[in-house]
């Protein structure tokens, strides 16, 4: 992004929200605004910024501001899905795979890593039950910069306090100066990959459980359907998917059906 564009968009966001965007945080522009650009049929950030400049459309400016000011990702975001994972979703899947002891989980919008690391901690907390298992958690995102942050597994004091219980923080993080770094035993469970959900998903391999939370909201209905169909092809018949609290498959895809009594959890249809 050229300096003039950065200056324009950061002062717009500042005037609208008070959010100060320094150049070292420019990765946030990419990760937050690319979905907005795509939703409006624009190729990239440059086109988005050009559109705002020329049309000054209030609705678009509001959308941009909201995308930028949404809170940084939380560990164990919304809490409940991670309880459901541990108590309802994992047990039958682990039973069925007890002979080959292989489990693959995909976070389709890994962002700065909070979700895949939270999942890794849930699995680690199961302890002896998963001894000898080959567990892979794959986190993908469309922003290379944010994936670099995710891979580092380093979080500020402010970031770790958004959702990480203190006991788990002590157990699974190392404190280095004022930052907290995910311990190797957790980091080693997670692999990050650059991937666009609109691209062919086949080469990602198969997944028993998919976290696809709060990412479909950026797509139109037809694209949502196409992405979900692609996701379903990566999953075995007993595979399970998590969507965000405000998302649904109803009227969007017939490849999944909601699991009753487990909000946000979907089974293959």
């Amino acid at each position: 992004m050229n300096p003039a564009d950065f200056e324009f968009i950061s002062s717009l966001i500042l005037s609208r929200s008070g959010l100060v965007l320094t150049p070292d945080k420019s990765y946030l522009l990419e990760s937050r605004l690319m979905p907005v650009a795509r939703k409006h049929g624009l190729k990239g950030l440059e086109d988005l910024i050009e559109t705002v400049r020329s049309r000054k459309e209030e609705a678009l400016i509001v959308e941009i501001t909201e995308a930028m000011t949404t809170n940084e990702s939380f560990f164990f975001r919304d809490t409940k899905p991670f309880d459901l994972l541990r108590d309802e979703v994992l047990p039958p899947i682990l039973d069925k795979r007890s002979s080959n002891k292989r489990l693959r989980i995909w976070c389709a919008a890994a962002s700065s890593g909070q979700e895949p690391y939270s999942i890794a901690i849930v699995l680690k907390e199961l302890g002896a039950r998963l001894a000898g298992w080959n567990i892979e958690i794959i986190g993908t995102d469309i922003s290379k910069d944010i994936l670099t942050k995710a891979e580092k597994g380093q979080y500020s004091q402010f970031e770790v306090q958004r959702g990480m219980p203190i006991q788990l923080l002590l157990k699974y993080f190392d404190k280095v100066d004022e930052n907290w770094i995910v311990k190797p035993e957790i980091k080693n469970m997670v692999t990050f990959k650059y991937w666009n959900l609109l691209d062919d998903l086949k080469n990602l391999g198969g997944f028993d459980i998919v976290f696809c939370r709060n990412v479909l909201i950026y797509f139109d209905a037809e694209t949502k359907g196409r992405v979900l169909e692609g996701v379903s092809k990566l999953m075995p018949d007993d595979g399970m998917m998590f969507l965000g609290g405000a998302e649904t498959v109803l009227g969007v895809s017939d490849k999944f059906k909601p699991v009753s009594g487990q909000r946000g959890v979907y089974a293959r249809a």
Partner: protein, 143 residues
């Protein structure tokens, strides 16, 4: 504007609630008046009834008079510090009941571990914001 709407709604909800159910109580213990005010605003938004204490001794007296559901507890204070308060609280009759969340600038492992050993339920490292308070209160089941 949001804040204005929030506070108007808050008054309505509170007056309604007092008629039907008892609100959860939180004792805010901090020697800084500013911190107490910030914490009070956040906790009232979360629909807690709040009480304040400027040091551990005042807090202990308040607890012995009536045990709160939760205590948000600073570490470094005059007269009696937070860790001494917590030790005394856990020895007092009914003192095992309140959920205690430290809220302090002490952010090294030794301090955190000591607090947890003495019986803290959660630990917030300052500075904090309403998201952090809310997330921590959720984790310990207060909301």
């Amino acid at each position: 504007m949001n804040r204005m709407i929030g506070s108007i709604m808050h008054i309505n909800i509170n007056s309604w609630k007092e008629d039907f159910i008892t609100m959860k109580t939180c004792l805010i213990v901090d020697d800084s008046k500013v911190i107490r005010m910030v914490a009070r605003k956040i906790l009232q938004e979360l629909e807690f009834e709040t009480e304040e204490a400027a040091d551990g001794q005042i807090a202990l007296d308040a607890c012995n008079a009536s045990m709160p559901d939760a205590v948000l507890l600073d570490w470094n204070m005059p007269v009696m510090d937070g860790i001494t308060f917590l030790r005394e609280l856990r020895k007092a009759p009914g003192g095992d009941k309140p959920i205690v969340i430290f809220c302090t600038t002490e952010n090294d492992l030794d301090h955190i571990q000591e607090a947890m050993n003495v019986g803290a339920n959660e630990y917030i490292m300052k500075p904090f914001d309403s998201d952090i308070i809310q997330a921590k209160f959720q984790q310990v089941g207060l909301i």
